[in-house]
Symmetry: C2
Subunit: 418 residues, 2 copies
């Protein structure tokens, strides 16, 4: 078992970093350890720097809607602190009881409200962190407008622990939600659904989510959960659309849906039970797939212009390459973020590599992102070199070397460090 | 006159940067040259790299609401291209016909819609830029979710040309505005106005602006523009509040104002002429001050908790230091961004320095920002060292050295380069 240290303050983190530099010992910052790409797991003798003793939530400001959270505070703790003063935190996802502020900042965590409120970087007004060179960077005063130099907080966000250790973060809060409405809408094809998404963004104030499922997935969910589909026959493509009010979101959604072209079916929920029934086909997608078998999972973003073509072709391409497989496509269509899950594959490293190569090189060829939310970690380092241009990778490496010259901060993650 | 080059493409920019590196010639990127801190003006033999031949707007995407703009495109050109497809660009300010995309990215330009839509960094989905080391970084595919490494676009944004030359930017658009309502609200003091701002943010969907003026400023505007004030007597503090609908913003604002404590007077506009009359006291502040004399101008942000105290004390402190002066305070209270203008000062470098020192060290002591929007440039380099901690400045310097090792990119701006 590798050693673990549990510093209780920024000054103690600095002392740990200095000791690591002197002894040439690399470290891995670790929060809730909920990541999916191996970013917080020691690989080769790194010590673990745990944030669990830095979990205080302080300086809650009611007027500006801001708070400061220690790296070890969980997402659920931040959400409670925000709700307690009449605000809410704009990021939410299922691992809320384990995932920590330090990890969310390091990975630019997303979740189910990214379309409306943005990912973690958007909430971040400042950080206190210790760089790999032992510098303490700190700007926790919650200054919404501050053009005094580079955006260090934004740079640390998404750096996956490679630049240093995040100790505290100043987070912006968002107003609490009003009433909510949910619609399920059927379309002929992905292009109509993508075009409709663009119009809904302009027409529906308070649009919170636009999620897409395909017919094969809806049939699979109906079978796995023994539930009747909302529409019979099931349309080729369905969108789950959610909006908050005011204005009355049921009325706003209804009016927008009447003006859309290419709508085959539409249902708008007027109560919570019906809303849950409309969400069912999307909410139970992941667990329904898991009943078939452990899937290979890819979390990708396509440019809006390439989304329809990718969705129309990738399933057939994977089937042709690996005939025993089934490919499921669903996700956050308003952000271009698609989950591609593959079941029924042969448990052979070569087949798994071929499938990954087919899907991610197709995404890369369409100028998409091979990692929408999960990051690079150790699992996707080879793909970073494919998906980002040489200049981007060289610039990132130069920045990593500048802030962590001895390569002691998470040196096996994201970049290949010298 | 220093030399100027006008490259027409990213490749030509790279050739210029390489030539500058080989010959040890520094360069200053220049767009519309509308900055206020000397960031785009050659000081010591730099050549000027003009963006005027890189002004194409391409890849306008209707579904996702995005476009790509060359560094030389003006803000007005971006706004027109967005409006032409039923979207709008989220940043606006008075210099729209001159200010360019390259300059707006380099300075993280703000303006009158920052409270609602954020500054330039918030609109920025990617950049193509040439670093001082000659690397071409490029990610222009408009990927809303993309966790593949560091946020290079966000880092270039606000770097004031010190890391390299921005050639193109992928910009996110926002939905067009609906109906609009304007209110003028009087309060006893700044604390009540600040508290009311926090409540309005939570209560009024579509809140676009909350601007503050003080009684002395309102009296000055009434006199300089020969206009009757809206309220008689003029309240100690007034907020101009603007919201867009739906829901009906007149109704939403009216309901919110009835629930606020400490309101002395309130007027809600129901037509454009009345709205202009309510805005008058704020809109004509700058020009009214200019009629008294050329002011010293400071553009600062205070943390929400320090805003009231700063506004209550700074006027008296400046008067005590320089009895011939008058100090005017007004600005974007929802962002904590206050404009401090001083008229009637003695035209002596010592007096000007003393006034600047008093105001900016007061801001710094309150943990505010000495530059909310304008940046550091050459004019405020000494204040960067005061206002940012040593670790922040050292980290910025390390990043500048990593991307521009020969210090050829705007070397006299922002940081002291070796």
């Amino acid at each position: 078992t590798p050693a673990a240290v549990r510093p209780g303050s920024t000054e103690e983190v600095r002392a740990v970093v200095e000791a690591c530099r002197r002894s040439g010992t690399p470290l891995v910052p670790q929060g809730g350890n909920t990541g999916l790409v191996g970013g917080s797991v020691p690989l080769a003798g790194e010590i673990v720097l745990s944030s669990e003793r830095m979990r205080a939530i302080t300086d809650v400001d009611l007027d500006s809607g801001q708070l400061t959270a220690g790296a070890g505070a969980t997402l659920a703790e931040v959400q409670s602190a925000a709700s307690a003063v009449g605000w809410r935190y704009g990021v939410d996802f299922a691992a809320r009881d384990s995932a920590t502020v330090g990890g969310m900042v390091a990975t630019n965590a997303g979740g189910v409200r990214v379309f409306r409120h943005g990912s973690t970087r958007r909430q971040l007004l400042g950080v206190e962190a210790v760089t790999g060179a032992g510098l303490v960077v700190s700007r926790l005063d919650g200054l919404v407008k501050d053009n005094t130099g580079y955006d260090l907080a934004g740079l640390f966000c998404g750096s996956e622990g490679t630049l240093g250790v995040v100790c505290r973060a100043r987070l912006a809060l968002v107003p609490p939600p009003g009433s909510m409405a949910t619609a399920l809408v059927g379309f002929h094809d992905v292009s109509s659904a993508v075009a409709a998404t663009g119009l809904l963004r302009r027409w529906v104030p308070g649009l919170e989510a636009v999620e897409m499922v395909l017919r094969a997935g809806a049939e699979m969910v109906a079978e796995q959960t023994a539930t009747d589909p909302v529409f019979d026959p099931i349309p080729p493509v369905q969108l789950v659309v959610e909006a908050t009010g005011p204005p009355d979101p049921v009325e706003a959604l209804g009016a927008a849906l009447e003006s859309l072209d290419g709508v085959l079916d539409a249902a708008v929920a007027t109560d919570a039970a019906r809303a849950a029934a409309l969400w069912h086909v999307r909410e139970t997608h992941t667990e329904s797939i898991a009943r078939i078998g452990t899937p290979l999972k890819y979390d990708v973003t396509l440019p809006s212009s390439a989304l329809s073509h990718f969705c129309a072709t990738i399933v057939g391409e994977v089937t042709e390459l690996a005939p025993s497989t089934t490919t499921w496509i669903f996700g956050h269509v308003a952000d271009g973020n698609i989950h591609v899950n593959v079941t029924g594959y042969q448990e052979e490293p070569d087949e798994i590599r071929r499938i990954e190569h087919l899907i991610l090189s197709s995404v890369d060829g369409a100028r998409g992102s091979v990692s929408a939310e999960h990051g690079i970690g150790t699992a996707k380092r080879a793909w970073l070199l494919v998906n980002r241009c040489d200049g981007d990778v060289a610039a990132m490496s130069a920045i990593a070397h500048a802030l962590d010259p001895d390569a002691i901060c998470n040196p096996n993650v994201l970049l290949t460090r010298s």
